[in-house]
């Protein structure tokens, strides 16, 4: 400490700087840094009950019932027995507590699992195996290959040369490529010498714990020398060590202070719009409750003054209660009695319904992906109904819309198109999995996962067609792919982009096998004969050139330039002689582009030896020039790449996920807007936009915004807006101010004639998202049918989502598969993760996950719609049922001196919501469906009412309340009039309080049951059982509670003895019940029937249609694969920006011997034989599964190159 001249006493609450000394626990303990144990659980066995109860009572509804309970204890107020509130409250609390407890037990379990992982720690001069949680700051730990990094470490030394280690950071940022970290030489020299490591006493002074993954600053002081530390020397918790036998690290941050844990933050709790509406409604209900109680309290005051004061002869006042005080007490008494307007079981029931509907999602076989064995999963169980209200979908591209698999699909060689299959009549056949594929047996080096259907191309190869051979020779030579051959004949390609891999693989299968390369040569096997070409130059790819060429010398000594590139680029450089071929090829290219394929043109040129040697000389000069090297090289390239001879063109399919265009079409029909937010470049994104039918040739216009400064962006956006809607800028765009709440202004939906598409670039988007321009951008974008944002950063993805959320009153959904989608998934109302493609990051932060984009259609149009429908039906019915129940008390107040006497038996009040009416309504909300899933797909517009909040809104709620008022009037006044001065058929009493209560409650139960039956549109046996069972239950419970036995056992609690027997055997009682229930229901039937006749909704129409069709709907017609006739030319296919040419020709790239213990690497789930680098598949960050994985990722020369290049990060 003295070294830094600081006193630890000065250390404040918040850590300003971290100081620690290696191998000195005592010293480090004085700072009380967090140990490496993590704790995500909330409770332990002792704190569970108090903490959980405390949390639960923070919810307004629970607190309300607690207050009610307290009110009920006051005898002067208590109008209901305590059990009427306690029983439901206890039930609700215990259900919630049980759920919280299971969640917390799971968290405990995962904490334990993580905390108890073993790691080797250097202690007292020897290595010991310790649990993760006992690792402390300042400890030196040893990590082995494929182990998770235990804590945030300072890398000390490693087994690799130059003290390098390779790590995978998938769990941190989702990137699956390897990154390299390098230790300081001074520490690296210690190697694995235990004694020197144990003696190491360097002191580290660094930044306090924070959540920035990409930055670290600090210093290491060792033996008086000060070394600066940066992010390149830090291993973060959550990473995995790869291709490194061992390394030693010094723990800097432990457990909760690691960057990983600092980064997880609190996931914001998402709530549905119905939740929010419900909160507003509950507040309204509170207000209404207070209003009713006010009226009744005033009534009480009047009554007490006029009659009550005189009635004291028979009913003396309580001590010290005068008229005003009595009305005050009455107010509270009525608060208790009318408490059922805020139904406690509402919240529990809502949770149950959502849980049930989530299970349906988990169970759905039609959202199960067999190839990856992944069922859909509802990871959040509280958002279901929102799935039925989605208005905007934000989608990632790669891995979500596309599979990130490139397939060599077609080619045009010398004016002949290959790749299509024709039947004997010359009809083009649809290619499906049954189409016969080409047999590769002639080629022992073929990749058998590659499939091609057109036999004629193989024939052409076998017939030694010159053009075909040159074509494939070009593909085999002109690339920067690396080959690895572990065992004889087993080739593995490492390609920079999947497109390149696809092309080289295609050449390989057609007999031009790229086998190996050195910086000076490329070895290929041409039709079984191995030939080595001397590699003279690589004219590398970049975004401007959009082409690459190689210059090689064949074994025969012939000089040749092979070129592949974007057709526009290649065409400009073709020789005059190719004009005819160009026309034919152009036709083919158009055809390919029309099918959404990525195209490349191939060309070659024989070179003159003399000319080349001169060129070579100039090239050498240029490449060693100090000024304008790039420009000079470009000029040289330009010079030699001319007068090319066209060979043909390739067409690569960026394979879409199954059913993507159809899904998008369906979603568009459901009036859902889809925005694609991708990190890809504009051409690729556009291409995909066309191939999934989001951008269409028929569209009126497709705007591209790609300006580089704010003013230009604004101008471009303005132009777009005025093109679509002249004069739009002056229009008022905000919705009229809303009275309630201080929400920001809401931009109203605008209509525009025609269909437009908008493509905006990342750098333009950055300006468009600025405060001054965001509204303009939002309006413009919302007017377009399709919006594609390319080259966007993860943060921008989230910003776009936030923008729409902020100004549009719409529900948003974000779908993605990678770590770069996490921010967007978290920002949107609903996040959907595509599982089984990349790391788990997206899935883990998502609310729903499944394996294929196309399942989104089912999730929204079927599950979402049903969930929304069910929830709304449930809420409407639930409010109706409780209001009706409660309002009867209100009417009765006018006949009982406003004394807060209940109409019903207290037991009935207790059991009404819990027993008598709970199951039927649950049954409805779990099983109801207006039309089945097939019809839902047939009529996507059934989804629209959800977006417009039509099923449950304030208006719907108000209608419910009105309906309840009517029903309660009927339910009170019909029995009232029927029982007025009436007697039994033996002359005895029936107009007594108990009989009246029984009559009223029987009428109520029957009425709400009938109402439920009216609301229910899907009558399963379970529903029948619940309805009839509940009615039977009501009568059974009533009879048994009113039986002799219960009364004799508890005379005070069950005073209603005999009431059921004595009144339910009276014909006039039953006639009253019949009249009441019919009168309650008839107007509803008439009203609904009228609505259907006069203003049928889309649901009514479809249901009617279903009824007419009777039988199950016809299977949706198999949509033919979408074809477009398009003049649009797709861009250069490669998805990378800069080629590897430097690397391939350089002699400097590192070489490492292959790790001998590894077994052959089998690529998983890929059709082509190259291993994707950027977005690798199958990575599972699970500790066990990963560590036991049999094979390691080989470090290829390419990776090595990458490491060297990327080591700057």
């Amino acid at each position: 400490m003295t070294l830094f001249g600081l006193d630890c006493a000065k250390k404040k609450e918040r850590e300003l700087e971290r100081k620690l000394r290696a191998n000195d626990r005592e010293h480090n303990l004085s700072f009380r840094y967090a140990t490496n144990a993590i704790k995500t659980s909330k409770y332990n066995a002792f704190t569970f009950l108090p903490l959980n109860l405390f949390e639960q009572f923070q919810r307004i509804a629970n607190a309300y019932f607690l207050i009610l309970l307290l009110l009920q204890v006051i005898p002067a107020i208590s109008s209901l027995s305590w059990f009427t509130t306690v029983v439901p409250l206890v039930l609700v609390l215990s259900v919630t507590a049980a759920k919280d407890a299971t969640d917390d037990i799971n968290r405990h379990r995962s904490d334990n699992q993580v905390n108890n992982r073993k790691v080797t720690v250097l202690m007292d001069g020897e290595l010991r195996s310790e649990k993760w949680m006992s690792v402390q700051v300042g400890d030196i730990i040893k990590l082995e290959n494929n182990q998770f990094v235990t804590a945030d470490l300072l890398l000390l030394s490693s087994s690799e040369p130059l003290n390098l280690v390779y790590i995978e950071t998938a769990e941190l940022d989702g990137e699956t490529n390897l990154k390299v970290k390098q230790a300081l030489t001074v520490t690296g020299d210690m190697g694995d010498k235990i004694h020197s490591l144990a003696a190491f006493n360097g002191e580290v002074r660094c930044e306090p714990p924070n959540n920035r993954l990409d930055r670290f600053t600090g210093t290491l002081t060792n033996a008086g020398q000060k070394y600066s530390l940066d992010n390149n020397k830090i291993l973060l918790r959550g990473c995995t060590l790869r291709n490194t036998e061992w390394c030693f690290g010094l723990v800097l941050f432990g457990g909760p202070e690691t960057k990983l844990m600092q980064n997880c933050g609190k996931t914001t709790f998402k709530r549905t719009s119905i939740d929010r509406l419900m909160n507003v409604l509950v507040l309204c209900i509170f207000g209404f409750l207070a209003f009713m109680c006010m009226i009744l309290a005033i009534g009480n005051r009047i009554w007490e003054q006029r009659w009550g004061s005189e009635f004291t002869a028979f009913l003396p006042r309580q001590d010290g209660v005068d008229t005003p005080f009595s009305s005050f007490l009455t107010f509270w008494s009525y608060v208790i009695i009318l408490n059922t307007v805020v139904p406690i079981s509402l919240y529990v029931s809502v949770e149950v319904i959502r849980l049930g509907n989530s299970f349906y999602i988990d169970w759905d076989r039609k959202m199960y992906h067999a190839r990856s064995d992944t069922p859909a999963k509802a990871r959040t169980t509280t958002l279901n109904e929102e799935l039925g209200q989605i208005k905007y979908i934000f989608s990632d591209k790669t891995g979500t819309l596309t599979q990130n698999i490139m397939i060599f699909n077609k080619c045009s060689i010398n004016g002949k198109c290959y790749g299509d299959v024709f039947d004997y009549t010359g009809q083009r056949l649809e290619i499906n999995e049954h189409t016969e594929t080409v047999d590769w047996s002639f080629n022992p080096l073929a990749d058998h996962q590659f499939s091609f259907h057109d036999h004629s191309l193989v024939e052409a190869v076998k017939l030694e067609n010159v053009e075909v051979h040159s074509f494939f020779r070009t593909l085999a030579l002109c690339h920067t792919v690396m080959a690895e051959e572990k065992t004889e004949g087993e080739l593995l390609y490492q390609a920079q982009s999947p497109d390149e891999g696809a092309l080289v693989t295609a050449a390989r299968n057609f007999g031009f096998v790229f086998r190996s390369r050195t910086p000076e040569s490329v070895t290929i096997v041409e039709m079984g004969k191995q030939r080595s070409y001397e590699l003279l130059a690589i004219l590398d790819f970049n975004n401007v050139r959009k082409r690459m060429s190689v210059i090689v010398r064949s074994p025969e000594g012939k000089l040749c330039l092979y070129c592949k590139g974007a057709d526009t680029m290649v065409y400009e450089r073709l020789d005059q002689s190719c004009t005819k071929l160009m026309d034919v090829t152009t036709e083919h290219l158009n055809e390919y582009a029309g099918e959404g394929l990525r195209t490349l043109a191939l060309a070659y040129k024989d070179l003159d030896e003399e000319y080349f040697s001169r060129w070579k000389q100039r090239h050498h000069e240029a490449s060693t020039a100090l000024e304008d090297r790039e420009d000079k090289l470009d000029l040289l390239y330009e010079e030699i790449e001319k007068d090319l001879v066209l060979l043909g063109a390739t067409a690569i399919e960026d394979k879409l996920q199954d059913g993507v265009p159809q899904t998008i079409e369906q979603l568009a029909k459901a009036d859902i807007k889809i925005w694609v937010l991708t990190g890809d470049k504009q051409e690729t994104a556009e291409n995909i936009g066309y191939s999934c039918n989001m951008l269409r040739e028929e569209m009126n216009d497709i705007f591209i915004v790609s300006a580089n400064n704010p003013d230009d962006v604004r101008q471009e956006l303005r132009n777009v807006l005025s093109t679509m809607k002249p004069g739009a800028e002056e229009e008022a765009i905000f919705m009229p101010e809303r009275t309630l709440g201080n929400k920001p202004k809401v931009v109203r939906d605008e209509e525009v004639n025609g269909e437009y598409g908008l493509v905006i670039n990342g750098h333009s988007l950055a300006y468009a998202l600025e405060h001054s321009m965001e509204l303009l951008f939002l309006r413009t974008a919302c007017l377009c049918k399709t919006v594609i944002c390319c080259r966007v950063t993860p943060l921008q993805k989230a910003q776009v989502v936030e923008l729409v959320k902020k100004y549009k009153q719409a529900v948003t959904l974000a779908i993605g598969d990678g770590a770069n989608d996490v921010s967007m998934i978290k920002a949107a109302h609903i996040g959907v993760g595509i599982s089984g493609q990349e790391g788990m990051q997206a899935v883990l932060s998502s609310d729903y996950s499944f394996a294929q984009f196309r399942f989104l259609e089912r999730l929204l149009l079927v599950h979402g719609r049903w969930s929304y429908l069910r929830m709304c039906k449930f809420l409407r019915y639930f409010f109706y049922k409780n209001f009706t129940f409660t309002f009867v008390h209100f009417w009765y107040a006018f006949f009982c001196g406003f004394s807060a006497q209940t109409v019903y038996d207290e037991w009935f009040i207790t059991l009404y919501n819990l027993v008598y009416t709970a199951l039927p309504v649950l049954g409805m909300s779990l099983f109801d469906q207006d039309v089945n899933d097939m019809w839902s797909f047939q009529h996507p517009s059934l989804y629209v009412p959800g977006q417009l909040n039509q099923y449950f809104s304030k208006t719907a709620f108000f209608k419910c309340a009105l309906h309840s008022v009517y029903s309660s009037v009927v339910l009170f006044f019909i029995p009232y009039a029927a029982m007025y001065d009436t007697v039994r058929d033996d002359g005895r009493d029936i107009a007594d309080y108990q009989s009246f209560a029984l009559l009223a409650q029987t009428c109520l139960v029957i009425t709400v049951c009938i109402q439920l039956c009216l609301d229910m549109s899907y009558w399963t046996a379970v529903n029948q059982f619940f309805v009839w069972g509940s009615l039977a239950m009501y009568f059974a419970v009533t009879f048994s509670m009113y039986s002799n036995g219960t009364h004799i056992t508890f005379p005070a609690s069950f005073p209603f003895i005999g009431t059921a027997r004595n009144s339910l055997n009276q014909p006039n009682v039953w006639l009253t019940i019949l009249l009441t229930s019919i009168l309650c229901v008839l107007p509803v039937v008439a009203y609904r029937f009228l609505l259907i006749q006069l203003r049928p909704t889309i649901n009514d129409k479809v249901m009617f249609k279903v009824r007419q069709a009777k039988a199950t709907p016809p299977l949706p017609a198999r949509r033919a694969r979408m074809r477009r006739t398009s003049s649009r030319r797709s861009g250069y296919a490669f998805s990378h920006a800069q080629g590897y040419g430097d690397l391939v020709t350089s002699n400097h790239f590192l070489r490492r011997p292959a790790i001998t213990r590894s077994t052959a690497f089998t690529p998983l789930g890929r059709t082509t034989g190259f291993s994707p680098m950027g977005r690798s598949a199958g990575y599972s960050p699970t500790g066990n599964a990963l560590n036991s994985r049999p094979q390691e990722v080989e470090v290829t020369s390419l990776q090595m190159y990458r490491m060297v290049r990327d080591s700057a990060f």
């Binding site: 199960y368 029909k669 002359g987 009493d989 107009a991 005070a1052 005073p1055 003895i1057 019919i1078 007419q1108």
Partner: protein
Amino acid sequence: MMASSYNAKEDGHVTVPGGGTIQNKKPDNTAFKQQRLPAWQPILTAGTVLPAFFVIGLIFIPIGIGLYVTSNNIKEFEIDYTGTDMSSPCFNCSQSFSWNSTRPCTCALPFSLEQPFESNVFMYYGLSNFYQNHRRYVKSRDDSQLNGDTTSLMNPSKECEPYARNEKMPIAPCGAIANSMFNDTLDLYYIDPNGTRIQIPLMKKGIAWWTDKHVKFRNPGGNPNLTSAFQGTTKPINWRKPVYELDTDAENNGFINEDFIVWMRTAALPTFRKLYRIIQKKNNMTPTLPRGNYTLEVTYNYPVRSFEGRKRVILSTISWMGGKNPFLGIAYITVGSVCFFLGVVLLIIHHKYGSRNNTADIPN
């Protein structure tokens, strides 16, 4: 969140390189899980709604007519004896009422029946503006005590306050309901055409519910001697005699006195009638109450004037649907007619506009 995610990944399936999968997580194909449960899907079509309306109308109207006729056939006679009017014979009694007067005040009200009352005639007393359904009133009783529980007999429930104890002695029966028991005595005399007064025999048993009489209300202890059974308790404050002296008949005394039981069955509404006596039919030849003149002799004990209450005596016959109440009949006829009418209106609307509900114009 992140740490818990370790757990979430734990159950991830393990893909074996080159092979299939170890677990099969394909959901079960059951009708329930796939939401394909067989179901009946009723919708409101003209074919179901319109007939329903007509059928309900056609059923309700006859029922209503039946009920109305039945109700009209019931003979009922009502006489108000509150004595608020100067002309009323009971005016004096009602004016000079005091709780402690030992001398009962009686008054006689003459009346005549225009029609003879056949079969059994039920005699009710009716009270108006009497809030037997007031919450504090309804609560003010101890059902355990009334059920013969000896502990509750000596320690009445707090609900009975302020009528739980009187001078330290527990009140039996306790509470405001019992305390305010109706205690007018009503006697009925038939004035023979030749002027003689014949007292009409009034049955005082069989007026309470069987369950009340035999289950709900029981005298304390198994003691047949009620005096000793109620030893140590005192009568309700307003009562003139203790509960064990309500009747001489042992089967109708104490808590199981039927007048008491009837009173204890509190009314639902502030205007109510309670069965007082039954006039049994003598034989088939003569009507129970022939037409002619009668006198109602009232021992006026019960004060209602202070709260504008009314006291009535009702003589009524009954039918299968109970006492006279035309409401149900009228309601049924009305609802039935409205139903029928609605049916017609809906039919017209359906014919005129129903074609809008065709399926041709569904979007998409």
